[in-house]
């Protein structure tokens, strides 16, 4: 059975590791990015079932990343780790 990939974006190494290990323990393959630019590069290179991102990050923030990814016709579901901020800004 094909393993599903998830892109995890967070500038906090501890959170990246915690999310990766949790998702991997559920059988997913996880690719991590530590900032918005890194995330957009990795998004273009791979095929993901889900993108999970932190909102507050230096350089390109999570909301900017989500806006850019939303322009892709075959985009996967997007999940923000700060739901309150997501709902007020989108």
């Amino acid at each position: 059975m094909e393993t599903k990939s998830i892109l995890v974006i967070d500038d906090d190494p501890s959170m990246r590791m915690a999310l990766s290990e949790s998702l991997e323990s559920c059988g997913y393959e996880v690719v991590t990015a530590n900032n918005g630019e890194d995330a957009l590069n990795k998004f273009q290179e791979g095929l993901y079932e889900l993108v999970i991102t932190d909102v507050k990050m230096p350089k390109k923030g999570g909301m900017e990343v989500l806006r850019r990814i939303k322009k892709y016709p075959m985009r996967p579901p997007l999940l923000s780790l700060q739901v309150m901020e997501l709902s007020t800004r989108l």
């Binding site: 959170m15 915690a18 309150m84």
Partner: protein, 246 residues
């Protein structure tokens, strides 16, 4: 008025500080909970899994306190429209009646025989009434009497420039009361006398009432019992109609 502005500035500064601290704390808390969940899931030792479960519980308690802080710190984005204050109050009273009456507390109401229309945000006003009712409830651990009363009054406005009609709502309880030395601080954020209180409920109430152009005051007897009184300015076209009935 100057006092209120100073207080509003102080609250805004404290709110911003609380919001920044809360965001900084929440991220590491999230990873702590995830790691503890992994230990729960993969750990073979029952004792270690029990400790991980305790970590998760504690993290959730801290997270809940932070949620309350953020509620206080968030900028108010009210949806202001003409609302019937009495209907809002009656809804909150009905919602809380079961909880209050289960605890050997007599709940009585006395409503003005008229609609009390004000310019306000329904959800924020519900928060005001809910907080004041729960505050009274928590002040009566051994039971007592909570009386909620509404009426209309007319007096000079806050600037002392013109007559204004107000919707008055009073919450009278027979609880433990507030010591005189605490009365001045009762609306200050993070001030609490309760072991598990965050001290933000009444600060939120104060901010919301002030935002609506209203006033709030509190009186407490030496032998117990407290009255919280809030007043909101009635909207002008309603004034003229009400005055005919006085």
């Amino acid at each position: 008025m100057e006092e209120m502005n100073k207080r509003a500035e102080k609250l805004t500064a404290m709110g911003n500080l609380a919001a920044n601290i809360a965001h900084e704390i929440r991220n590491p808390l999230g990873s702590i909970e995830l790691f503890a969940s992994l230990i729960m899931k993969e750990g073979r030792d029952e004792k270690i899994r029990g400790r991980a479960s305790q970590i998760i519980r504690s993290v959730r308690n801290v997270d809940s306190t932070i949620s309350n802080l953020l509620l206080f710190a968030r900028e108010l984005n009210p949806v202001m429209k003409r609302v019937n204050l009495l209907s809002i109050l009656m809804e909150v009273v009905a919602f809380t009646r079961d909880i209050i009456e289960k605890e050997d507390i007599v709940y009585s109401v006395s409503y003005a025989d008229m609609d009390l229309d004000i310019e306000g945000d329904t959800e924020l006003l519900k928060q005001v009434f809910l907080n004041l009712i729960l505050n009274a409830y928590q002040a009566m651990p051994d039971g007592g009497h909570l009386h909620v009363e509404t009426k209309m009054s007319e007096r000079m406005d806050k600037e002392g420039k013109k007559h204004q009609s107000y919707a008055d709502v009073s919450f009278v309880d027979t609880g433990t009361g507030i010591p005189p030395e605490n009365i001045q601080r009762i609306f200050d954020p993070f001030f609490t006398t309760r072991e598990k209180g965050a001290g933000i409920g009444l600060a939120i109430v104060h901010s919301i009432v002030g935002f609506h152009g209203g006033t709030i005051d509190v009186k407490s007897g030496k032998t117990g019992g407290t009255v919280f009184h809030v007043a909101f300015p009635l909207i002008k076209e309603y004034d003229a109609e009400s005055n005919r009935n006085i």
